[in-house]
């Protein structure tokens, strides 16, 4: 897989994941994510990995949790309806701290919607879809080559933080075929979960580190003599259920802190023309491609526009906005293929500093560069 290649976004996802060490995939077909499952069924056995098509998305999510506990890097892929179904078991992975990657290739919702048309309607669901308090990490690629690198990144984060990470694609990026230059395997940074250094008797799978409340306890694989307990009930450090408000509360806080305390490290963003900008376009995913074109166009027309392309959409990247908040921005434009979702935290962070202008389209239509350019011109 070296050298320049024409790859589909969904293919790049599989190749990136395998490069990151993916060895178990469980899924259930759904447009526009199906190619990921199909390619996994072909490619995984070639590298000694395993593929299974489960009876539904709930089972797929359960299976990857099980496989991850047994020590394999695991992934599932789906789209809106399936992503809704996975929510309960995503919550289980969060609560029990099972590393895994969940791909959602977004299509138009709600409900069955338009299976083959692009949308970005699941952005808030990714953050809040499962019940109870939790944080989420979600990465949002804009190009095929970025799908590849973010698939690797998703695994690295999942394994290091013992969390499910969502690779949030959209139909545009998933189905696009694009030229990509895959990095040399030796140049890739691939991280594995920490295994316990302690002996089985001493091992606490949910240990709270007194010096570092955001520390991630190591995870022993099943079958290596640790004989520990994993439960979705609120549990103590040893993994067994607790009814103590303090103990349970501390664990909930810890699993949130794992993410929130690392928000800065996790934040990935592409910035363009930021130095002297007045008007900012804040975009992500497929829409960011239109935004980039629009911003370039605006610059060509002498307008001081900038692009903030958000990559790590969760945890929400407050820093970059706080930075521009201090520079008397004229406006922040947020184009989204939805009714206005990520614009909400943008507004929250921007406060009363400047107008935050949502630019929305639903029904499966692209947001065109010209739409964004018009908004930039208007905001000027």
């Amino acid at each position: 897989m070296r050298g320049a290649k024409l790859l589909q976004g969904n293919e790049a996802c599989v190749e990136g994941a395998i490069a990151a060490g993916l060895r178990f995939f469980a899924g259930y077909p759904i447009t526009p994510s199906t190619e990921i499952a199909e390619l996994c069924s072909l490619r995984l056995p070639q590298v000694g990995g395993k593929f299974i098509q489960m009876e539904d998305e709930i089972a797929s999510m359960g299976a990857i949790c099980g496989a991850s506990l047994a020590g394999l890097k695991s992934m599932t892929a789906t789209s809106g309806p399936g992503f809704s179904l996975k929510q309960e078991n995503i919550g289980f992975a969060i609560a029990t701290e099972i590393p895994c990657v969940v791909v959602n290739v977004q299509r138009v919702g709600p409900s069955t919607g338009m299976p083959t048309s692009p949308a970005q309607g699941d952005v808030m669901q990714v953050r809040w879809g499962t019940h109870g308090d939790h944080e989420m990490v979600a990465l949002c690629p804009s190009s095929v080559s970025e799908v590849y690198t973010l698939a690797i990144e998703a695994f690295n984060i999942a394994e290091q933080l013992r969390i499910p990470v969502v690779l949030l694609m959209d139909e545009i990026v998933g189905h696009l075929r694009e030229k990509v230059d895959l990095p040399e395997p030796s140049s890739l940074v691939v991280r594995d979960r920490a295994k316990p250094a302690k002996a089985p008797g001493q091992y606490k799978p949910y240990e709270v580190d007194k010096d570092d409340p955001a520390a991630v306890p190591p995870l022993a694989p099943f079958g290596e003599g640790y004989r520990f307990h994993v439960t979705g009930l609120s549990h103590a450090e040893d993994g067994f259920p607790t009814n103590s408000v303090e103990v349970a509360g501390r664990q909930i806080e810890r699993i949130n802190l794992k993410v929130t305390s690392r928000a800065k490290e996790l934040a990935k963003v592409e910035e363009l023309y930021m130095d002297d900008a007045e008007i900012y376009v804040f975009a992500y995913g497929g829409t960011a491609r239109s935004a980039k074109k629009a911003v370039k166009e605006a610059r060509a027309q002498g307008i001081r526009a900038a692009l903030i392309r958000d990559i790590t959409i969760w945890p929400f990247n407050e820093d970059i906005l706080l930075r521009i908040k201090g520079r008397s921005p004229k406006a922040v434009i947020v184009p989204e293929m939805n009714m206005g979702q990520l614009v909400l935290p943008v507004k929250r962070v921007m406060g009363d500093a400047c107008p935050v202008i949502p630019l929305n389209r639903v029904g499966g239509g692209f947001i065109e560069p010209d739409d964004i350019l018009d908004a930039i011109r208007e905001a000027k």
Binding site: G3, A4, K5, L6, T31, P32, M114, P115, T116, S117, I172, H175, L176, R177, E178, K179, G286, R289, S290, K292, K293, K296, F366, E368, P369
Partner: protein, 178 residues
């Protein structure tokens, strides 16, 4: 320079494959950037379907084809549906085996009985590769060698010779109709 190509016809004519080969030829054998997209879903089952390619020596930000510079049509319905999208001054390549009525467009029109030619070569199934040769020949989208290499890398084993012939037939036709 960004150049947009649209290959339109019916499901089963292999135009998606042709578009992928065109894009792969550029991506894997030239310095051009390449993007390929297509219509999916109910829209693509039966009726007119399309596959698009964008080639450019710059970054390709916006990935959709709105007004193709080159439009290949291999079915009447597809011609009727996508004909109007052709950019003014563009090139319309017509498989006259299946397309009779042409839209009123301001374009260079290239006509050739692509599918008929494929049948003569032995199997109509290679009409897409004949069309690709024709398109490459007419537009110079990519060097013919690049396209041929991409063809051979992507067709089923055992069909290389036939596809090679088909591609050459398309190239030859380009000279013929030019």
């Amino acid at each position: 320079m960004r150049k947009e190509y649209r290959l339109a016809g019916e499901g089963g004519q292999g135009l998606i494959t042709a578009a992928i080969i065109l894009a792969a030829a550029a991506a894997e054998h030239t310095d051009l950037n390449a993007i390929q997209t297509q219509s999916y879903g109910p829209e693509s089952r039966g009726g007119a379907s399309r596959a698009d390619v964008i080639l450019s020596d710059e970054d390709i930000d916006y990935p959709e084809v709105k007004t193709p510079d080159v439009l290949l049509v291999m079915a009447q319905e597809a011609c009727d549906k996508y004909g109007p999208s052709l950019a003014a001054g563009g090139t319309l390549i017509v498989d006259t085996t299946y397309v009779e009525t042409l839209p009123a467009v301001e374009a260079t029109v290239v006509k050739y009985p692509v599918s008929q030619r494929a049948k003569e070569l032995g199997r109509e199934i290679v009409a897409n590769i004949v069309a690709l040769g024709l398109l490459v020949g007419v537009t110079g989208a990519v060097p013919p060698e690049a396209a041929l290499a991409a063809v051979l890398a992507r067709v089923p084993k055992g069909t290389e010779e036939l596809n090679k012939k088909a591609f050459q037939a398309g190239l030859d036709a380009a000279k013929e109709v030019a």
